[in-house]
Symmetry: C2
Subunit: 318 residues, 2 copies
């Protein structure tokens, strides 16, 4: 049993690197920018230096394994980031092999949302819940599924793309090129799209006024809704309703014991989650929602880091 | 390793009971009616007698295990048929325990579509394919998923309800009480519903004429389509298109290596499967359809029996 792991969370804005032990204690913490114009390899070198610094600070020998949670789609088996919408230039990058070369350590990489699901399972709201669906509501809608204690990522490690399940064959265009995916209704970009439409058409006076000062994002729509703007509230409600239909799909397929909702957008709270719960009950088979718990993630900004550490713990149990 | 199993396939019309060995050879075969007015317990007693007869014929000692594929939703863990739309009176029936009492043998029961998925994995088109989605196109749309060699049936064994995944939140009412499930587009009853509407409205002359002689079912719609009726062909095409959207969902979630399509309705063939393949490609993430094979099941009327035998083989590997 691994006692501790070096955890790396590669996001669109920051790289975080921590040392986390098997009981979830964070022994070391660091953060640097992941953006910049120096190119992909410079970022990989920066990550390698962060790993070295963490190991040095904690006096870790070379047997300590590194978990890296990275944006997907990602080929976990071969350790390749296939592309990352929020990291320009990341296209078929053999991240695992490069980091192994640079650090001399064993590296385990995983899709960030899949890793977060594992993080919830090892350290979070769903600790030891063997059948679990995790949803990451952020700019996109990610997710991960654990069935009988195993991560569902499929034949080539590309599965678990929960955001790209169609809930309306005739629905809006999605970031993936398809249409009517749940992400095209319930995600940061989808809510922002609907909010901007309300501002432009003038149907929401609050958002129209706000749009003069700053760009309308999901945060602005949520704030306008909370301030009593009915049109903005309807956008949030519809996003939640669509989320619930997708949750019903996961429920009917996976019969989970728990659903955990994480990601920044989850902070909208009940305005989003209450309609989601209602429509889930409406669309799912009754037998499968009996006793089903929906929880908010409690891991906060370190969800990705816990996920990365969980990748290491989990790879040990294989 | 179990050398052979007694396999029982409980369907809406017949009970089949066979003895099948680990290489898939059928050593004994029997069939009786599952219908009748004598009630649930009489049918269970009949099944027990069929099991006894099979064991006696093949000289099997009491250590040989019985696999039973039964209609779902079904609680595989506790061995209970929760209800069976096509078997009147089957409501929370403790089938496993009753059969164990009556036969003195260990009984393994499983949802029929889940069992069929295992049957394809142990004996059929997907032999040894560890990541596999199986679809049973019949009166309803059933299915089963095998991920990394394990059946996905969830916390209470109620999962794998692939037919009841919403592909259109605003779609037609479904047999499960929800709406827009793929089954509400692509199933025997859904195609029959659309065919009857064509007959009643007179939009399909062929079906209107046929409806005088007999009830319009999926078979009649398919035959009218094959005979050149454009309206009937459109019903089949739309059913296939909807199936493809659902397949895309399973692909994005499970990243399978193969999809196997079985069940009586699959015999419609390319008229149904070609639009399904097209729309799957349209809705799924491109990376996940690369190299993905879609195959027809080759196990025929014995698919359920092979599934029941596979339940036994599989329970041995747990």
């Amino acid at each position: 049993m691994t006692e501790l792991a070096i955890a790396v969370d590669l996001g669109g804005t920051n790289v975080r690197c921590s040392v986390i032990d098997a009981r979830g204690r964070v022994l070391f913490d660091s953060r640097q920018s992941s953006a910049g114009s120096e190119g992909v390899d410079a970022v990989i070198r920066r990550i390698a230096r962060m790993i070295d610094a963490a190991a040095e600070d904690q006096n870790l020998d070379s047997s300590v394994v590194v978990g890296v949670a990275a944006p997907g789609p990602l080929d976990a088996e071969r350790g390749i980031v296939k592309f990352a919408p929020n990291l320009p230039g990341w296209d078929e990058v053999p991240l695992r092999d490069r980091l192994e070369e640079l650090t001399g350590r064993r590296i385990v990489i995983g899709n960030d949302a899949n890793a977060q699901a594992l993080g919830e399972y090892y350290f979070g709201a769903a600790k030891d819940v063997d059948n679990l669906v995790y949803i990451a509501l952020g700019t996109g809608l990610g997710g991960g599924v654990i069935a009988e204690g195993e991560l569902i990522d499929g034949y080539a490690g590309l599965g678990g793309e929960l955001g790209h399940t169609t809930i309306n064959m005739n629905g809006p265009r999605c970031s993936c090129g398809s249409q009517g995916c749940v992400e095209s209704y319930c995600s940061g970009w989808a809510i922002a799209r609907d909010g901007r439409a309300l501002a432009e058409s003038g149907r929401s006076v609050v958002l129209k006024r706000l749009a003069v000062e700053r760009e309308i994002g999901a945060k602005e729509v949520s704030e306008a809704a909370a301030a009593g703007d009915e049109e903005a509230a309807e956008v949030i409600r519809m996003a939640g309703y669509a989320l619930g239909a997708a949750l019903a799909n996961y429920v009917n397929i996976f019969n989970p014991q728990m659903i955990v909702i994480g990601g920044g957008l989850a902070e909208i709270g009940e305005a989003l989650l209450a309609p989601a719960r209602q429509s889930m009950m409406r669309y799912a088979l009754t037998d499968l929602t009996t006793g089903l718990e929906i929880r908010r993630s409690g891991l906060g900004v370190r969800t990705g880091l816990y996920g990365a550490a969980a990748l290491v713990l989990h790879s040990d149990t294989l």
